[in-house]
């Protein structure tokens, strides 16, 4: 399991190697460094895939229960404060780790010819390492360290390889998410210090503070305390829930905390966008499941309505804003906001199925949205423009790009047999079920119904204006200055094919990933119900 630290080390080593050379040598180093990074990420992918087949493919029969972890490892880090280097995987984090390792090589392929490759590819590796670190951490301190660490490579990806306004976008991205994170940090610290002082009891407890940052221990404490009343007291639990959720909602992002996202996405390079949309947004949802939902179920019930409203607003608002976009990448960015709303709604239903839908949405969107951004990147790369109207009749002269675009757009709007459909369908069923069960107004269905139409509208409309319109008199964009109209490069084709293949795979056989997620949610709810925290049912 220590393998997850390796991308960070590999990235640093490669960067240090590059930093010691002068500029002309950089050019020569591009290829070897790219190959090394690619080989490394491929190795990582193989490793996690093997983990899947060995352990997680039949995780339920391996005896899955709440708050137990596979590959659990723990080393002392700051014993004075009860901080440990604790890693472990469960059905919640494993899909995210696998997704990250899957996206790393794909990102490298899709952006094979990125400029300054000698520093770009190691940065991608660093980014991947930090992301994996977030998902495998089972220690609050370690979790927060990696959580913030992801900002640094992404900041440089945007600043060094981004678009015209990259200076503004990179700073906004960093400051916005950092601000939310420090509020979350204060929440984490308060949570840490609210636990009873166990000084001198050794083990996972700090020698100075007598408290621990260990997540499994904290969750155990919380479950035990939640059985009779509220863990940490009612008002405290609510306050901490809000503080932690603030950090996660900004990262997710949910409307109205989403304004950093379009800027960051539009200015980020293709590789940065792919990782940002594919994995980094999921950190927010993952964090919710890992911390507040596991520890503060009472507060979750209390804030259920608020979460539902956040989800609905994100869903609808994101879709409406998409309709008005003329910039292809901005439209895709807002569609991410809309899809993240699906996750929030899934959580707010408080049904195992809704949660499984949210988890699967995280996963499916993690495969589809990189493809969306890869298409946008190719568009920008070849046509030097992101305006939706700038390229017309693409189907005639750039069939590969047109096909990829159509496929990605269809996958994102939830075409059956593709991965996104499964998650959306599950969410709708869970929401219906929830409305019927709890006696909420049927009007709650208006939002999702509306968005189904809106999503189809903005995707189809943009396709029509880009791929099909223009007919016979093909109008190449003015930015090409009459030059030949290019299509996807070989590497881009490969990346698109891989992404499409996995989108189909998880659309046709969703149970590969869904089984473990479903089991996770069911064990979670069974655990909560058997401890008398949630009411029975479901």
């Amino acid at each position: 399991m220590q393998l997850v630290g390796f991308p960070v080390i590999a990235g640093i080593v490669l960067l240090a190697f590059v930093a010691n050379t002068n500029k002309t040598a950089h050019e020569k180093l591009n290829n070897p460094i790219r190959m090394a990074s690619f080989a490394f990420s491929l190795g990582l992918f193989t490793y996690t895939t093997m983990m899947f087949f060995e352990v997680f493919s039949d995780i339920s029969s391996a005896g899955l229960s709440f708050n137990t972890y596979q590959f659990h490892d723990s080393y002392e880090w700051f014993p004075a404060l009860g901080i440990h280097w604790t890693v472990g995987l469960d059905a919640l984090s494993f899909p995210m780790v696998w997704l990250t390792t899957f996206l790393l090589p794909v990102t490298i392929i899709a952006t094979w010819h990125e400029k300054n490759g000698a520093t770009y590819f190691p940065t991608i590796l660093l980014m991947g390492g930090a992301l994996i670190g977030v998902f495998v951490s089972l220690d609050l301190f370690m979790f927060y360290v990696f959580w913030e660490l992801t900002l640094i490579p992404m900041f440089f990806l945007i600043l060094n390889w981004g678009g015209k306004d990259r200076k503004y976008a990179s700073q906004k991205f960093f400051i916005y998410t950092f601000t939310a994170s420090v509020v979350m940090l204060l929440g984490l610290v308060t949570l840490y210090l609210m636990q009873p002082d166990q000084i001198g009891s050794g083990g996972k407890y700090g020698t100075i503070t007598g408290r621990t940052f260990d997540i499994p221990t904290l969750v155990d404490h919380a479950t035990a305390a939640n059985q009779n009343g509220w863990f940490l007291g009612e008002s405290m639990q609510k306050v901490l829930f809000v503080m932690l959720m603030l950090g996660f909602l900004v990262k997710l992002p949910a409307v109205p905390f989403h304004t950093w996202l379009p800027d960051a996405h539009v200015q980020a390079p293709t590789g940065g966008s792919m990782l940002l949309a594919g994995v980094m947004l999921k950190m927010g949802a993952y964090g919710m499941f890992r911390l507040p939902l596991s520890m503060f179920p009472h507060a979750l019930q209390h804030f259920q309505l608020a979460l539902m409203i956040f989800g609905m607003v994100s869903l609808v608002w994101g879709a409406i804003v998409c309709l008005g976009q003329t910039n292809l990448k901005k439209m895709v960015a807002y569609s991410s906001v809309s899809h993240m709303g699906v996750i929030l709604i899934g959580i707010a239903t408080m049904q195992p199925m809704g949660w499984a839908a949210a988890l699967f949405m995280m996963f499916a969107h993690g495969i589809i949205s990189p493809m969306l951004f890869a298409v946008c990147g190719a568009f920008k790369h070849h046509y030097h423009s992101m305006e939706i109207g700038s390229m017309r009749g693409m189907a005639k002269h750039s069939p590969w790009l047109a096909t990829s675009m159509m496929f990605a757009w269809m996958a994102s709007l939830g075409l059956p047999l593709l991965a996104g459909f499964v998650a959306e369908l599950m969410m709708l069923i869970a929401l219906w079920y929830f409305i019927a069960l709890e006696g909420w107004s049927v009007l709650w269905m208006v939002g999702p119904a509306l968005v189904l139409a809106l999503t189809a509208a903005y995707y189809l409309w943009s396709m029509q204006r880009t791929i099909f319109e223009g007919g016979d008199e093909t109008q190449p964009p003015a930015s090409l200055h009459g030059g030949p109209i290019p299509d996807l490069s070989r590497e881009e084709k490969i990346a698109m094919l891989i992404l499409a293949a996995f989108t189909i795979l998880f659309g046709v056989m969703p149970w590969i990933g869904l089984d473990m997620m479903d089991d996770y949610c069911r064990t979670f709810f069974e655990h909560m119900i058997s401890n008398g925290i949630f009411k029975g049912g479901a």
Binding site: V145, F155, R166, F174, I175, F178, L186, G233, S235
Partner: protein, 566 residues
Amino acid sequence: METTQAFTPEFYTAVMPEMLLFFGLLALMIIPNLGKGTFRIRGTQIRLPWFLGGQRYAWSSNPHLPAWIATLTLTGAFVAVADSLRGGVDAVHIVSSDAESAKELLMINGFSRVFELIFFGALALASFSSMNRLRVEGVGGKLKVDQLYNNRRQADFYILMLTCGLGMSVVALAQDLFVLFIGLELASFSTYVLVAFLKETKAGSEAGMKYFIVGSVASGVGLYGLSMLYLWAGSLQFDVLAATFAVSGTEPLPLIGIGFVLVGFGFKVSAAPFHFAAPDAYAGASSPVAGVLATASKAMGMVGLIRMLLIVAAPDASDGSAVWLVCLGALAALTMTWGNIAALGSTNPKRMLAYSSVAHAGYMLAGLTAVGAWTWDPTFAGNESDAALMVLTAVLFHLLVLVAFKLGAFLVLSILESDGDASRLSSLGGLAKREPLLAFAMFIFMISLAGVPPMAGFLSKLMVIMGIVNVGVGTGAGGLGDFHWVWWLALLMVLNSAVSVFYYLRVAVVMFFDEPEEGREGPLPKGWQVRTSILVCVLATVLIGVFGNSLLEMCRTAAESLTTKW
């Protein structure tokens, strides 16, 4: 624990680092003056060589010599302190030789040792890197008068560095108001001259003048406060003062006295509103000196504050909290907010760092406020000594690691100063293209100052927040309403950290994004000394952030030895 009089063998062992500095000072005065000077016996032609003055030897006239002597002395003192800290320090009390009522003058224990570590570490790094900052002209051959003059000034500079270190460590050791004041003034006067050392430049002399005037007013006010305390208690001893304060601390006289002392030390830690001279001083001084002001001098102010507030005016067991609690809390809130907002608007990197150091002072003052929130007398019910101890550990740790990244940032600016100018943000422009490693180092320092993991600055800020929250949460399990109000200082601190990211990140953006200034495209001047110092700072910043456990525990032990009450 042992008690000894001054000038006994035990005394010399205990104050070994200070003795090293003392001999270093002697060496600095004598060695550069060694030459072929002779002494003629009157009425004869016999000339006896006596080695002082005359034509100097090649090695003794080497302009780098004073720098090396000072650096080696300070490093030696640093190593001596670190070595004595390793096995845990036995407290040594130095008392006056007055037989009937021996008065305690100095106390050497873990707490003061940590401060010596900070002072000597910062000064050693600063004097080592000043070798590249204070221009020396070539040796041998014909030198113009001003060049020669410049070479001769080297000794002055490093003598001041050493006296500065000596004064600071006396402040850390002092157990008596008089000794405290002597140390304070010795260090202050050295820094006034050091700040004004670039007297040829307008900024340098202006900075020195401002710093001197404001500083001496602050010292005067502080001295007035000290004299009021003496008038009231009839003693200069900290322990006597503390005992008297516990009985009659709420009388007006000691309160006004403590208030005045707060002003005096508030200037040293550059707490708002006593910080106005700091940005000018930092901007006018040479960068390594500014780095010393921001780290060692600030630590000296903090140790003074800790002694005066936590030992003399200790939180009272009768109602639980210290008399200065609200006052210091307001000061902390004002300082961190003012510092950060002022830093947002400054375009001179050195002024920006000065304001950021004001903000950091605010964080530490918030920590001290938290210590004063509850009594830590173990006999008192609801014992909160653990929480207070944690905050103090955090403040010590913060001061210690601040040396690494604050001084480091100033050293990077120092290289830019040698290149011409570092007084505009655009001077940093394109640093990533000119010197990628230097830009990377500066980036590390900036994010460490901002408190981004996994740098040392994150750990120390986390510790301070954790300590404040720990005190704030207290015994109140009833939610936010039951928290002590110091908890809100933690929230303010967190929000301030978020604000501070704006200007730290701006430096990174300028370095990695903007083009270099006109005519400044090439690589920066060489200078292995300052680059080595920067490397040391980077390594310390990263390694302490990742493997700082033993340092944390050291600070904990040091904090425990501050008072016998915990």
